[in-house]
Point group: C2
Chain length 643, copies 2
């Protein structure tokens, strides 16, 4: 018998050689049907692989990232089987899972696959899936493996084999297809209920352009048709909502070759959104007792040697400028500057918690190839702040930060989110993690308590904390179901020491403050990119660059339109008039297209009665209102940030 | 007879050999008494020097910078005379006028001058001044000049003589003192009615530390005692109001060695002032139809090659960062980025005037030696904007900019200011100035017209325009009478061409816009430095980091103090409580020292009657007010930016 420890700490005994799948079945058949793989002693295994010693066990399903990856990797094998069936003699390179789905690189000789063939391949894959073939793992000696692929004539797999150690080589077989693979895989092909091959591309062998160009086929698969349908719909929506397309159409930002890649220029409409977001952040932070600071965008090398960012983070920073024999760096983060402000004057417990906030602009080097619209940039306007507090204050401070996140989620209609709480591994204290066992335990417990008490959805990820403390990665989903990493929240008990930060406590002794790094709205770049997709460019009234567009029916009503405009502007409503000599239908169409939330159609009747005919973008005519009624509604929508 | 042309264009005839002083006398004795020197054919001359050909003439008085410089240079000679009288055998190096006053470098052998001797020197100078000796110019041959100083044994003057061309050497003599000097000088010593020797310092000969250390005596002089008294008072006040001292005391900014010289870190109190100034600018610019943009702090080298800043301006910029084979520069100005935004989308006459505003942060290299608090820095937060307009729109746009300056001067109580209008020289078109004679004339005329029509005090400075258009340097004076350069206003008809900026005019033809560069509030750094001195740290209510300090008489009244604080904060008033267990006298004293404009003393009576005992900083008790009364007064002072 062996002891199996479950995630909740419960230990049960099983026969030696039991599989995760059998254990799942012993719990419930329903559960067993969902098991894709298992984490055995922190390693992802086949669910069907016998366990032969005491072990910790976590069953992995579609809801686990490792479960999904295994599912997609097995789908790549399924695709390879279908390809081999269709194109005998094809040679395979590698077929990994990716963020969304999988691909396989292959050498098809001179053949090119067309759309029709891709559809045929899809059908073939579905057929093979229905055969419900098991993925069978087999350990094999290196000579036998070499013999197998030599006979098959697959020089790519032989190349792979060269780098592998004898005794650690495995083959996986499902149906008629056998692959060199370290696994793991899902139990059987029948679990793959829905799939789609999404793209064909060329890819140089080993990514080296001097090598042969292989064919790469991308696909995605799901455990049911509904999820595939939703995914395809999401893709279609995402295309319509592409933030680069909307950003251009709505005058949000532009890029310029002479300025440089990854360095957006914010146009007037984008700047209005930036300023509204900053206003929200400043109001919120002011009410939460933050103090604002402003720091330069550069600093001497010595600052980043003190902080420890140099030399470790150097590759992510812009290269230095050398002046008067001193190297200056563009800041890639605001923390060191804020620490210097903390240190500028002696602090006592009465000064704590000290919360220093700055919409600091940081510069980070990202390779040209990965830059992407506003999502991956080199210039980052961060909603940054650092909270310096005592251990006793930590719980309240961290809770307040968490509450701020939840407040923002409500304002922006972000309904799906999860906090990934990354914890330390006590075995690695002093190496991967600062050697402060007590502080790790205390802060991790307090952070967890905050998340539980506030009903915040979270998952725990062991051994992924920052060097200097536990961290929370905040994942959010847009209305069309795409996932974004919004921000990172970090607890820090190392930087205070590096910068010799201290305060005098109540016992008149020097004490080292804890630091919370937080940026709930992330960066303007990423957040506005997210909002463009999330709202499909139809921003709520308070964020809309133009809030009201007045559409006079003809020249005759332009004077009245100006009256109305002045009144609305006096109430702080961003208003424009379309004075062009165009048909009202065209004016409405264009205002709709530019996503202005409210349109006011003004003609004879409206002018004589001092009324407005109000239209809401996407919703049509709302009927007549007086200027005062309308103003009150809009002012309320703006001040409440609703509507 | 010769023709003399006066500044107003009038031409009069005079005897050949007439002097400026004689011409002045022929106009009025009063005027003649004020003449210090004269500009003859654009060169500054002795007022007593005969004019022997047709010439343009401008009489120079104390009100002209050239008049002042001549006065101070003559005062340096007067000081030298007194020194020689007191220390026979002294040798002199050079004695120029400086921004405020003059100095003379001299070799006193092993002697050191003490305070008493300095006072004696002052008295001696006054005595000599009263002798009313003329400054007499004498042309002398180089051999004779060498002989004179060889006999005198003054190797310093002999060194100077080496570099001079025979035939262009002059001596000046007043009383018993003769100096090698190209002049000019004032007519006689009697004009120097008041003087003060302000400082003694060491100065290496020729500024080279391997040379002998000479003695440098600084002084200042005036045409009357009143001006000297005012100047000395101003110096004393300036010392008390030193922005570096106040900046530290009031928590406005700090500097840090690890961040770098000239790179201020703005502390919470300073950041409040920054944000209030930005709020004012944004409101004002919004009302004036500006649109805001946000641009990165760096750009590729190619942007600055297009703009022409490279290579000419290179020494004033931070050195480049080289990334992926491309040089990036920190921006030293915002214009090129704004031009790129103008160019991002096609423009028509309907889009003009386009006014793009940004509180852009620029970085400029200033030598370590000249850095000075907030006044000379390397990081500049600029109240920047660029106005793109047609020629027809130029007058209105320039006038609106000028009006904005005047509005700001009124808000900040800046009563003395002058616009220095720098014009081109038509002889240098195509070399020093863009070859657009018509545009130069038109824009210079329009700018002048704006200044005249708006009653803005201004002076014209020929041949000092920018390469690309006329410019206005805005000089302001703080309440204690110190002069500051606030900002520069420029008209630009060259950058549009370099960036190929154009708009489609009403005739459907491409047309090149004019550009106005403007930054009425200058940079945060310099303007806040100025305001610290101007207000002696006693900011008006709207700018005060803390607007109200509540001083409860004892613990018993802290709850009531919190009530009051919450009410005030809800009304947007920055309020703090001094909860310390200290005597009320001490609390008041410290609140006074920290320049909080209002203090509220709360005790039994105030609590029972729900009243406040109000004190104004520097003015004492204002009596009792209800919370509502007080709130209304403060809210009005804030929203009106008065009080």
């Amino acid at each position: 018998m062996i002891n199996i420890t479950f995630p909740d700490g419960v230990i049960r005994q099983y026969e030696n050689g039991v599989t995760a799948l059998e254990i799942a079945k012993s719990i419930s058949e329903g559960l067993a049907r969902k098991v894709l793989a298992a984490k055995v002693n922190e390693q992802v295994w086949d669910a069907a692989r016998p366990i032969t010693e005491d072990a910790s066990l976590k069953l992995l399903t579609w809801d686990d990232n490792d479960g999904k990856s295994t599912f997609w990797h097995s789908s790549a094998h399924l695709m390879a089987e279908a390809v081999e069936n269709m194109f005998p003699g094809v040679k395979f390179w590698v077929g990994p899972p990716v963020e969304n789905g999988f691909y396989y690189d292959m050498d098809l000789g001179d053949r090119k696959i067309n759309e029709e063939e891709l559809e045929y391949l899809e059908k073939k894959m579905s057929e093979l899936a229905k055969q419900n073939n098991s993925y069978i793992r087999k350990e094999i000696s290196k000579p036998d493996a070499i013999q197998y692929f030599t006979e098959k004539g697959d020089e790519y797999k032989l190349d792979l084999l060269q780098g592998l150690e004898d005794g650690k080589i495995t083959f996986y077989t499902q149906g008629n297809f056998t692959d060199l693979c370290r696994g793991p895989h899902i139990p059987n092909t029948g679990l793959i209920k829905a799939l789609k091959l999404t793209n064909i591309a060329g890819a140089y062998w080993k990514g080296d352009e001097r090598n042969k160009m292989l064919t790469r086929i991308y696909g995605i698969s799901f455990p049911n048709q509904k999820e595939l349908d939703e995914y395809l719909h999401m893709l279609e929506e995402a295309k319509k909502r592409d933030h680069r397309k909307l950003g251009k159409e709505l005058g949000i930002f532009t890029m310029d070759d002479d300025v440089g890649p990854g360095l957006p220029l914010w146009l007037p409409n984008g700047t209005i959104i930036i300023e509204e977001l900053e206003k929200l952040a400043k109001e919120t932070e002011e009410a939460a007792g933050y103090k604002r600071v402003v720091t330069p965008h550069i600093a001497k090398e010595s600052l980043y040697l003190t902080s420890g960012h140099l030399p470790y983070y150097k590759d992510d920073m812009y290269p230095p400028m050398e002046l008067e024999g001193v190297r200056y760096y563009l800041k890639a983060m605001n923390c060191p500057h804020h620490h210097k402000i903390f240190a500028a004057e002696p602090k006592s417990y009465k000064d704590l918690p000290l919360r220093l906030a700055e919409y600091g602009t940081c510069y980070r080097y990202e390779q040209s190839g990965v830059l992407f619209g506003l999502m991956r940039v080199r210039c980052l306007h961060m909603n940054d702040a650092h909270i310096y507090c005592s251990k006793e204050q930590f719980f309240e401070e961290f809770k307040a930060v968490n509450d701020m996140y939840l407040k923002y989620f409500a304002i922006f209609g972000i309904e799906k989110y999860v906090m990934r709480l990354s914890l330390h591994d006590s075995a690695k204290l002093g190496q991967k993690y600062v050697d402060e066992p007590q502080l790790w335990k205390e802060t991790e417990d307090l952070v967890r308590e905050v998340l539980i008490k506030t009903n915040t959805p979270f998952i725990e990820v062991p051994d992924e904390a920052a060097f200097y403390g536990p961290k929370i990665d905040v994942q959010i989903w847009s209305t069309i179901g795409r996932e974004f990493t919004l921000a990172t929240n970090q607890v820090d008990f190392a930087q205070s020491r590096r910068f010799k930060l201290a305060f005098t406590n109540k016992d008149n002794q020097p004490e080292i403050p804890l630091i919370i790094h937080r940026a709930p709205l992330g960066t303007h770049e990423r957040f506005i990119g997210f909002l463009l997709e999330h709202y499909a460019g139809k921003f709520p009234v308070w964020l809309s660059p133009v809030q009201v567009k007045i559409l006079p029916l003809s020249d005759k009503f332009v004077a009245y339109a100006n009256d109305v405009k002045n009144k609305l502007r006096q109430a702080g409503i961003r208003t424009e008039i379309d004075e062009r000599n165009e048909k009202i239908g065209k004016k409405i169409r264009e205002a709709e297209l530019s996503r202005v939330p409210y349109m006011l159609v003004l003609g004879e009747k409206e002018m004589n009665e001092e009324k407005l005919s109000v239209r809401r973008q996407g919703k049509g005519d709302l009927g007549q209102q007086s200027i005062e009624e309308f103003t009150n509604i809009i002012v309320e929508q703006i001040s409440e940030r609703k509507g």
